[in-house]
Amino acid sequence: MTHPRHRLDDLIHVPVRFSIMAALVPVDRVEFKTLRDVIEVSDSLLSKHMTVLAEAGYLTITKGSVGRRPRTWLSATDKGRKAFADHYTTLGEIMNSPRVDQDAT
């Protein structure tokens, strides 16, 4: 179990979830519609994946309003930030690890 792929976080390895965390980590919080536009997914897909991440304690969801407009804010938790950083580092290690030449086997 020395290959870095064993350290990958299955929860974040789903591309949409990895993108959600990538958007939330550098800032304090992001509004739902902006996040949807930045990561280019539908409302329903974003809702589904953000619920999974929230249940895992990787992000928090806050509902509020500005004037009459309802707003949903998403924010990465410390646990989520650490999980994303670890996963990102692991992906980098996999990228830089020597590849086995498939023809040689």
Partner: protein
């Protein structure tokens, strides 16, 4: 962009692209702090002029400042990406602003600034100090 790619190269490239986009969208915050900070010297320079009987200075206080506050509030409310630590910075800026404004307006200003708009404006820079410091810090953090 977020298709079902699982290759590490693709995921990292995608994450880096999203990171840059989000940071760019959060850069309104240092600009906001800078503009908010610059209003203080301008506003405080009006104080001796108003006391000296310049009607336009009073008009500035009565009309332009509420308009400025409304404009800033509207600018703030339209944002959908909040920079790291923005809530703590808001509290610090408002707390320092309230205390230092009262100190300058009631104690330091009347004793040392007299009728000089330049000195009162300097007092405004003192009040706005956290805005300028945090604008620089936020910009540097978002530029990383």
């Amino acid at each position: 962009m977020t298709g079902e790619q699982h290759e590490p190269e693709d995921m990292i490239r995608d994450a880096d692209h999203i990171d840059r986009t989000i940071r760019r969208r959060a850069k309104w915050w240092p600009a906001f702090l800078l503009v908010f900070g610059l209003c203080w010297p301008a506003m405080m320079a009006l104080i001796p002029l108003m006391n000296g009987g310049h009607g336009w200075a009073g008009l500035g206080f009565a009309v332009l400042i509420p308009l400025f506050v409304l404009g800033m509030r509207r600018w703030d409310n339209r944002q959908t990406v909040m920079a790291p630590g923005d809530r703590a910075v808001r509290n610090q800026v408002m707390g320092w602003g309230a205390v230092s404004y009262l100190a300058v307006y009631f104690i330091i200003g009347p004793h040392y600034f007299g009728d000089s708009p330049a000195l009162w404006a300097l007092g405004g820079v003192f009040v706005a100090l956290p805005c300028f410091v945090h604008a620089v810090l936020a910009y540097r953090r978002l530029a990383q």
